[in-house]
Symmetry: C3
Subunit: 349 residues, 3 copies
């Protein structure tokens, strides 16, 4: 069996909260077709998107109460996946069911657990609290990228690429040249880079709104297997930001969680959060579109990289110093995958 590219025992963002409504939403997650909807009580439900009878996607059908009705022969499934109606017969085959998935709603995302339901502990949902913290304002998008989700993780774990991919907005030579520190534990990998006493690049000059040199920071925190929160900002140079006093600066968080759709495509959910000027809706709008523009520059590179990898499946990659963060992220992902393939552990599904 080929090695999986992702663990199954993990919470993955399936949708933004507002995407899941009283209609059927089809998504592919970890190679599985999934149908999402909200029940009458407002909570979300997720079923396998393939009717037990003829495999027709349930998402082509409709909702009635908390049930999903197949659009072909009308079989009805409740939110646990049990079949509760079959046409032209009174007895229902007791084995008739579709898989249902543990689901949770937190930090403005609908999270799904594709693996062993017994292990689906809500305490394990990744921390993206800035996304609905009243002291912050955040806005973002979902983009579908045609690459292995791990290439997006690599991309975010090393921001020297800003210099070369995003030279007109957030990148400058300082990012590629400043030293950084990479640390990790069992679940997190962190890359910290301080660029002290620099001229801010265009994006930060605008956010900061004052003349003069700044101290700039990027603190990238990876939470296995695929969530990355990046603490970013600038403060007036020499006013103590590296030591913890950010009062003379502006602070944002780039929130990212990247869900494998298939082995070569992913759902990339991102948002930009800030704790300054938070009532200014125009700034929120402008930031969302500005960051979307930056990410579309990444998309082109990532999809080209994916195609090159597929053309050279046996290529062995070389790592640079800058890859320290992504190497740790990959190692933590691999440990999760390995843990699931241990025969003594509970099978993922």
């Amino acid at each position: 069996m080929e090695r999986s590219t992702f663990p199954l025992n993990a919470w993955y963002a399936a949708a933004y909260d507002v995407e899941v409504r009283r209609v059927l939403l089809a998504r592919r997650i970890c190679n599985k077709p999934i149908v999402l909807y909200r029940k009458e009580d407002g909570t979300a439900a997720a079923l396998a998107d393939a009717c037990w009878h003829r495999l027709v996607p349930l998402s082509l059908g409709r909702i009635e109460g908390d049930k999903v009705i197949c659009g072909y022969h009308g079989l009805e499934f409740d939110d646990t996946g049990r079949c509760v109606y079959m046409p032209s017969q009174h007895t229902i085959n007791p084995s008739a069911c579709v898989k249902s998935y543990p689901i949770a709603e937190k930090h403005r995302f609908i999270w799904i657990w594709p693996g062993n339901p017994a292990l689906a502990d809500p305490a394990l949902i990744p921390d993206l609290h800035w996304n609905d913290d009243p002291d912050w304002v955040a806005d973002g998008k979902l983009i579908e990228v045609n690459c292995d989700y791990r290439l997006v993780v690599d991309n975010l774990m090393d921001l020297t690429h800003e210099t070369f991919v995003h030279g007109t907005s957030i990148g400058d030579r300082a990012v590629a040249e400043a030293p950084f520190v990479a640390t990790h534990n069992e679940k997190f990998a962190v890359v910290t880079r301080w660029m002290e006493r620099i001229d801010p690049p265009p994006f930060w000059k605008k956010q900061y709104g004052k003349p003069g040199k700044v101290d700039r920071w990027q603190i990238i925190r990876f939470e296995a297997p695929c969530t990355i929160a990046i603490d970013v900002g600038v403060a007036a140079a020499g006013t103590g930001a590296p030591q913890g006093d950010r009062s003379r600066g502006v602070n944002g968080y780039v929130l990212n969680t990247i869900t494998p759709a298939t082995d070569r495509t992913c759902l990339y959910f991102w948002a930009f959060a800030r704790n300054y000027d938070i009532r200014n809706q125009a700034r929120t709008h402008e930031l969302r579109e500005g960051v979307a523009g930056v990410f579309s520059e990444d998309e082109a590179v990532l999809e080209a990289q994916q195609r090159a990898i597929e053309t050279n499946p046996d290529h062995v990659f070389y790592n640079l110093n800058i890859d320290a963060g992504s190497m740790w992220a990959r190692k933590l992902i691999d440990r999760m995958i390995d843990a699931e393939s241990q025969p003594t552990r509970a099978a993922a599904e």
Copy 2:
């Protein structure tokens, strides 16, 4: 060798009669590229659509008399497939030929026999006589559906799907709930459903044209491997239609013959025939377009089902009571395929 999805020793509809003219028509039938045309005497001919010399499709060339001339180097083939001209040489390689196929014209279709020509008995052509019977008027279309032809057969053998797929026209709860009877013999499988004393669904209300309850019938006759004629109609409730007196009602036939193009695509020829108000050309036109709309609802479901099956090649399907008709149809198809793979029988080709 992988099991074939269709028998070769059978008559398959290759085209509507009017489609075959004094030009070259390319069709793929049972995984074979075929070129169809009419000869000077008006009868149809079918050759393999690949020149003996360089495999270039003959359909890119042209007709001269009864001959097909390759559009690349000008090799000429007569209607038996024998090469009768080669450029720049006087002697023709006696082995130079392309395959020709038995062909017949009946009930407004051009039928082709892809298997052993010695077995191509015109008496075996499926019965779709309503399509050119002077007491009936019929009109229809050809659609190309991206699914195994057997999924269309399944679809037609169980009309409970009308309730869920075609709820705005011909479907209502009565179809999904009325009992039915399934019978079969060596070549035919028949599913009979009577819905007595019901309110007619919108389609039949319009055809019937009178107020009041009706008795509605659907008598589905499958003729192996892929022709289905469905006797449909409604009559005033309690006037003896179930016993054979249809004089107080309206009667139609849904004629269907589905030709495998490849293992995952098919040519679906259908027509709707009626024996009432047969001089009314507007009604003919309206019925053709109305039924086309109904069938486009099926197409979406069938193509989604095909994609799901391809993603899950080892899926074992469960059957419901409503699948009795399609199970028999599948069994009759399988018998034909098995008969061809018997080493003691004449090889199909």
Copy 3:
């Protein structure tokens, strides 16, 4: 290992000279991604189009001096392919490099040698001197054809197809019926056809510009593995053209060199050269577009042939008398491929 469809130890046209400038040009040649550019001194350079670090195409980056800078993390490569800069580190891994390819500019093409660089002798560049000879004027195009480059070679080595594919311009019955002579040596295969005392077809009638019968010639010279120069023209009938006196006629050359892009696609560079009325720019323009129209007729046939071959991978082809030239061309190609696969020879790469 599957047999290669082309030799690697050969010069292949990668681009027209004007296509290679101070920007990065991506091309696929012999299944390899290549990036082409001009250095500050005006000479061309060619590198593998995949960064040593993460395989991202270098063509997505930019040029600085003679160096190529990767558009992802900024690694810099000189024109020999050696990495001379890595972000955030002072020491450069000495193994960090991408492959560079021997390159040459001649007869208005940029030529690349994908095989063993030690064998890349500029004297082996195919002869297409008419393309920049002051006594001739030439103009042409690059087209990308979705077929094995050898199908284009076959096409050009037998011009009887003109009768059937190009009947409205250069083809007539004379081409398909006139005798021809095929000769060859270790590197060249030549097919000579004279059509004496014929009415010129439309194209030549216009070029010749006078009434009356002509002697027409086609002398096809194949230079292994994929260059074909065709000496074409007409002269007043009986004025000695077959004996060498072309003074009473017009003479052109159809120049063709076809580079394998992948095993099933190719870059087809062509030009039409003439030595009459050479100051007439309108005629040059008209000839280029006229010949482009002729070649687009070939494209349709060649791509249909490629699809048919892929559908019938085990098909054994039959040859006619007219295939003598292409059979020799194929034989010379095969010898080059065989020579590279000999274990005692220098490996191609």
